[in-house]
Structures are given as structure tokens and as C-alpha cells.
Amino acid sequence: MSRPAFSPEGVTLGVGLVALGVLWTLSNLGRVEMLPVLRTWWPLSFVVWGALELADLAIRRSSGRQP
């Protein structure tokens, strides 16, 4: 098995937490309604995660890394 180029789940988790923090801050400042935004856009995390998994695989295949 090739070593991962990066950790897709780690990046997804980090980006998700940053996004949640930004959203929560904006909600506290009264700029946005957090729950409706979350309810609509949460599947974007799956899209990002899946895309990162595919990108990771593509990078590993193109660089031809071996175990």
C-alpha cells in the first residue's frame, strides 16, 4: 500500500472546524443564522472529503510511490 500524500479526513476535519468557527462567530455577531445555513450546506463536507480522497489517490498514483 502506498503512503498517503496527505490525510484527507484530517484536512476535512480541520476545514470543517474552521468553517464552523467562522459561521458560529458570524452568528454571534448577528450576521447570519447558523442553523439554517448548517442544515442546508452540511453535505458539502462529504463533497470536500470525497474530492480530497480522490485527489490524494491521484497524487499518489502520479508520483508512483511504493510502499
Binding site: 453535505p43 462529504f46 470525497g50 480522497e53 489517490l57
Partner: protein, 184 residues
């Protein structure tokens, strides 16, 4: 000719060790990195065992599969999601147990299951995640009505069944050609 008499003042040799003590001396105690029992116990809360194993992606997948199944069952989609709740719950515990064993196996220098390596090298996992996310996102944005597609869900069963048949045929070919040893 003088015969050597045994020295009666010399200390007596120590008695032979029991076989179990010899084995313990030959193989020093190795502390394994993970406890499969603890992983399975933590999985009583789905995903926690995988977090213990450091498998964050699996932890998320099991947690959301469990919560999602409960949510969809409670919103009137009893079939098939009510059946998925116990399946996800039990499979999550088995997965945590197996994950811990695989980590210990790697720690001891053993090989992991070839299926796990193959799964990591396949684009299927990433593609499923992305497509699933796009479908739900489009549904949330009102561009797609998943309720209207609900009657077509058994097609998923057909696809999964066909995939199992295809994979087992491929494996059989690999065993026959000598690329992969048969499993006992």
C-alpha cells in the same frame, strides 16, 4: 589415584525453571499499542472505538450512519433504515475490534488484510462520498427531490449484489492464476 570428592560447602545449583518461566525469559513482554477489547467496548457509542484506533474517517462514517439511520427511521422511512440501525451498530463494534487487531499486527511486523490495502487504493470510497454529498446538497437546495427517487432505492441492492459477484469472481480468478493464496 585420588578421586575428587564433591565440595560439600559449595552452594547447591539452582533448581531448573518451570517451562513457562523459560518461555517468559525467551520472549520479553511486548506491550501492544491497542486493546481490541477496549476498542469494542468504546464502540458501544458508535465511532468512539474507531477514534481510539486513530481511524477518524471510519469514526465519522459510523457515527453519521448510525445517527442518520435513526433520524431517517424517525421521519417515516422505517424501511430500510430501521434494519440498518442494528447492522451499523454491531458492524461498528466488529470493525473497531478488527481495526485494533490490524494495528497490533502491523506493530508486530505482520501483514494486514489485502482487502484493506485494495480498499485504500480504490477511488470508489472517495467517489461514493462525493456523489452522496452532492445528492443531499442538491436536495437541500431544492434542485433535486430525493423523496421522488425513494422508490428506486432497491437498485442500490442490485448494484451492491452485482459488485459482490464481480469481486468474488475476480478473486477466484486471482487465486486460480496464483496471484493470491487461497484463504483458509
Amino acid at each position: 589415584m585420588s578421586t575428587q570428592s564433591p565440595d560439600l560447602n559449595a552452594p547447591a545449583p539452582p533448581p531448573p525453571l518451570p517451562p513457562s518461566a523459560v518461555v517468559a525469559q525467551a520472549a520479553p513482554f511486548v506491550r501492544l499499542p491497542k486493546s481490541p477489547g477496549l476498542a469494542a467496548f468504546l464502540s458501544l457509542f458508535p465511532g468512539l472505538g474507531q477514534v481510539y484506533n486513530g481511524q477518524i474517517a471510519r469514526a465519522f462514517a459510523f457515527f453519521f450512519a448510525w445517527v442518520g439511520s435513526i433520524y431517517l427511521t424517525s421521519t417515516g422511512h422505517e424501511f430500510p433504515f430501521a434494519f440498518m440501525i442494528p447492522f451499523v451498530y454491531l458492524y461498528n463494534m466488529i470493525d473497531a475490534w478488527k481495526g485494533s487487531n490490524a494495528i497490533n499486527q502491523r506493530f508486530l511486523g505482520g501483514r494486514t488484510e489485502p482487502d484493506e490495502d485494495a480498499a485504500m487504493e480504490s477511488p470508489v470510497w472517495g467517489a461514493i462520498l462525493a456523489v452522496f454529498g452532492v445528492l443531499i446538497l442538491f436536495n437541500n437546495l431544492g434542485w433535486l427531490d430525493l423523496d421522488r427517487l425513494a422508490r428506486w432505492w432497491p437498485i442500490l441492492l442490485i448494484l451492491v449484489g452485482a459488485w459482490f459477484v464481480y469481486a468474488s469472481l475476480q478473486k477466484r480468478k486471482a487465486v486460480e492464476s496464483g496471484d493470491e493464496p487461497p484463504r483458509l
